[in-house]
Amino acid sequence: MRPRVRFLLIVPVLVFLGVFYFYPLASIFGLSFWGEEGGGAGNLIKLVQTGYYARVLWFTFWQALLSTLLTLLLALPGAYVFANFNFRGKALIQSLTAIPFVLPTMVTAAAFQALLGRGGLLNGLLMGLFGLQSPPIQMEQTVWFFLLAHVFYNYTVALRIVGGFWANLPRDLTSAARLLGASPLGAFGRVTLPLLAPPILAASLLVFVFCFTSFGVILILGGPTLATVEVEIYRQAVQLFDLPLAAALSLVQILFTFGLMALYTRYEGKTAVSLMPEVLGDIRRKAKAGLEKTLIWSNFILMALLLGAPLGALVLGSFLTEEGLSLAYYQGLAQNRAQSILYVAPLKALFNSLAIASIATLIALVLGFLAAAFLAGPRGRGAGLLDPLFMLPLSTSAVTLGFGFIIALDRPPLNLRSAWILPALAHALVAFPFVIRSLLPAWRSIPASLREAAACLGASRFLIWRTVDWPILSRALAVGAVFSFVISLGEFGATVFVARPQSPTLPLAIYRFLTRPGAMNYGQALAMSCLLMAVTALGFLVLDRMGRVREGS
């Protein structure tokens, strides 16, 4: 690609980030440190004076690291199974794994509580079975409870990013290693694993950043004694209105992630390998009896316990009333008991959610695609700096960015503070790093020789793109689209504090039910969550079909 073209690619991305990320961020930092509301930096001494904030940062770091390792450990076998074998219901199962991503924190917490709480299903079962006096599982408000939830949320990230890449890996290298006398395990360790390093790193990075800025999960499941940097920012900004301290903490959070990203980018460059992609459809096969079947089945059981049980508890809860199974909660969704304007017809909320998610996905895909096209080119100073920069929106405190929008986007032509598109823009900002991370490993794996060969044979630039690049990239792009869509549907991260007009989305409607007492409110929250889950699964099935070659056609 010619340098000038390459430069043009990145301009829209930089403009978007500049206007909707750096400008709001700079505004809120400026106001916090030097503005009248900031009240000077007198409080900043607290940051270093007590050991408290250092401990918070340390805790934030190690819990994110541990969550990432656990997620990888549990999801990599799944990635192997999904990349190598064909089985019935595969597309369905794969789309189901991403559902946790859209569930509001409170709903997930309720599901975990119903399963693993002191009076939960599992404790009840064990106490009945073994005649115990007190509940044997006491996980509430421990580190394990939220670690489990982090794995629940992020399993799909590792599964999709690694699995998607793995499916494209040529098998002849492994076969060659085996032919040369390597054991299956040896071939895996010395051939497959090094080749998988780029997507594994990409997935780890996303999971780490996700957990690093974790807010609700740790607050609710971890209990009040555990606080991440994100929790402290919320507390300082909203509860105590200490903007300088909140801004300083945000800055720490951003710089920390930037440093980590810069390290990653340097390392990632060393791991990328060009590969001749396999002709799809030939690789994945039916499992043979014995070891492979055992592996697949044990993976299914793991997924059922880890993902299926909490989701199942939610579905059951949405049907289970005090008088037994019924559709009452679903019927309740269609009634407006207090004749309130706040009542949200589920279809309206669904429409709002889908509209916002579609716009956000479209923006994120375009931006992510352009950014990845730029980054995939020859490595220069630009890419080394820009790549970590592009990841920052994902790691920026939701409160800080929301407040930044309020003060920065307040005048024409950017008078967007209460515009309907603002939530979609905020979602796109958080989603596009996911698109980059899904695309980049695939893009870098395309061997130059393949393009050159096509060019030698007289193919036009466009034809080369269509026949060489696109088939490889489209699968990665579909993965990126899935993530953008769920990030937006689930109102993830930076969007909670964005002001919005009267157009509630599904997660907001669920939240509203959960802030009121009464069986119908709780039941309807679960029913609406199931609606959200169903829509998500459906959306994925469609997206998956686009990214997947249909076998046998």
Binding site: E37, M106, A109, A110, Q113, A114, L115, L116, G117, R118, G119, G120, L121, L219, I220, G223, T225, A237, V238, Q239, L240, F241, E323, S326, R337, A338, Q339, S340, L342, A355, S358, I359, L362, G402, F403, I406, I407, D410, R417, S418, W420, R466, T467, P471, S474, V496, V498, R500, Q502, L514, R516, P517, G518, A519, M520, Y522, V542, R545, M546, V549
Partner: protein, 359 residues
């Protein structure tokens, strides 16, 4: 590489997807663009604000104004955003400052004084701002709730007062919210400060800790996670509102004769959270904003408050819905704390509490 049939398939799917996307985009743009015309007034508020359809229609008929609402997070976040945008207000009226945030709101100078005629019907004890920059709209009593069925089954008398929670027979039965992250949690902390004094409240909490109090993050995970009426919950005493028992009846599948929960409303065991609305300084629609404030304090709006927001209307002469009359009451002697004092000491109190209960 040969172009296969399946690639064509995929492209077709992609095209279909894009078509669906663009249709959605056009519809959204169309629906967002519609209804811009006509005079309107904007209300900024938190996520729990609600009003009935008929009431809204009455407002539009009376004033010829359309009501637009902007919502943003919880009460604290909404107020912070209003303060941040004070040089160029997002709205004309703000609703949702409570007495724990009152002093911060007044100090920020974002509210302009307006002595609405509606104030005449509101008791003096609710009117905490002498200059009428913030006008009381509703109030709710934060107090202990208990699960009646649980206590009946165990043959235990339910708690009648804050002191009861320290008794051995109520060990491990109570769940409260973290005052650092939850509004009812803070209100309950303030109850203990008001009841036992600045010197005594930490002593109470230390004993409560020894008696196995459970601290949850927010109201939802306490009520729908730990409370014995929740799935997986085991504790029959929870901090909630005096209006929760009627809400349990109203939002039951089949409304029961008797509420399944009850509120502890003995003297000195509840904190009165008063919610205020105010005219945002710098609005270009002062006249319209005043009309909205008058309406919020008028009988029509006030009557609509209980079933929409599950709090009590500020106007004394407002008739309450039957479900409120039957299943709860207003406490006679709530704990009182000067908002000024709350503003000055809340951080200190929360820190003291955190030290005593969590560390």
């Amino acid at each position: 590489m040969v172009r296969t049939a399946s690639q064509g398939d995929r492209e077709q799917m992609a095209k279909k997807f894009l078509t669906v996307l663009s249709v959605i985009l056009i519809f959204t743009a169309a629906s967002a663009g519609a209804g811009e015309a006509g005079p309107f007034v904007t209300l900024m508020t938190h996520d729990s604000f609600a009003v009935g359809r008929a009431t809204l229609k009455a407002f539009e008929e009376q004033t010829g104004l359309e009501l637009k609402t902007i919502k943003t997070g919880d009460a604290g976040a909404a107020l912070s955003q209003a303060i941040l945008s004070k040089n160029n207000p997002l709205a004309d009226v703000f609703f949702g400052v409570d007495n724990t945030f009152l002093s911060r709101a007044l100090k920020s100078g974002i509210f302009a004084a307006y002595s609405s005629p509606g104030l005449a019907g509101i008791p003096a004890e609710l009117r905490l701002d002498r200059h009428n920059r913030l006008l009381p709209v509703d109030f709710g009593d934060v107090c202990l709730n208990y699960d009646k069925g649980w206590f009946k089954e165990k043959g235990l008398p339910p708690p009648a007062d804050l002191d009861d929670l320290l008794k051995p027979r109520y060990k491990d039965l109570t769940v409260v919210q973290n005052p650092a992250t939850s509004s009812p949690g803070l209100a309950f902390l303030l109850t203990t400060v008001g009841r036992y004094g600045e010197k005594g409240y930490l002593g109470y909490w230390k004993k409560l800790r020894q008696n196995g109090v459970y601290v949850s993050t927010g109201w939802s995970d306490a009520y729908y996670g730990q409370f014995s009426r929740a799935k997986g919950g085991t504790r029959p005493i929870v901090v909630s509102y005096a209006s929760s028992p009627p809400a349990e009846v109203f939002f039951a599948k089949e409304p029961p004769q008797e509420a399944p929960t009850a509120a502890v409303l003995a003297p000195g065991s509840a904190f009165r959270q008063i919610e205020f609305a105010g005219l945002l300084r710098g609005t270009k629609k002062e006249k319209e904003a005043k009309k909205l404030l008058d309406f919020i304090l008028s009988p029509v709006f006030q009557k609509d408050i209980p079933l929409n927001m599950w709090v009590f209307p500020a106007r004394e002469d407002t008739p309450l819905p039957e479900v409120f009359v039957k299943h709860t009451r207003v406490t006679d002697e709530p704990v009182r704390l000067d908002p000024e004092k709350i503003g000055a000491s809340r951080e200190k109190w929360i820190e003291g509490w955190t030290e005593a209960v969590l560390r």
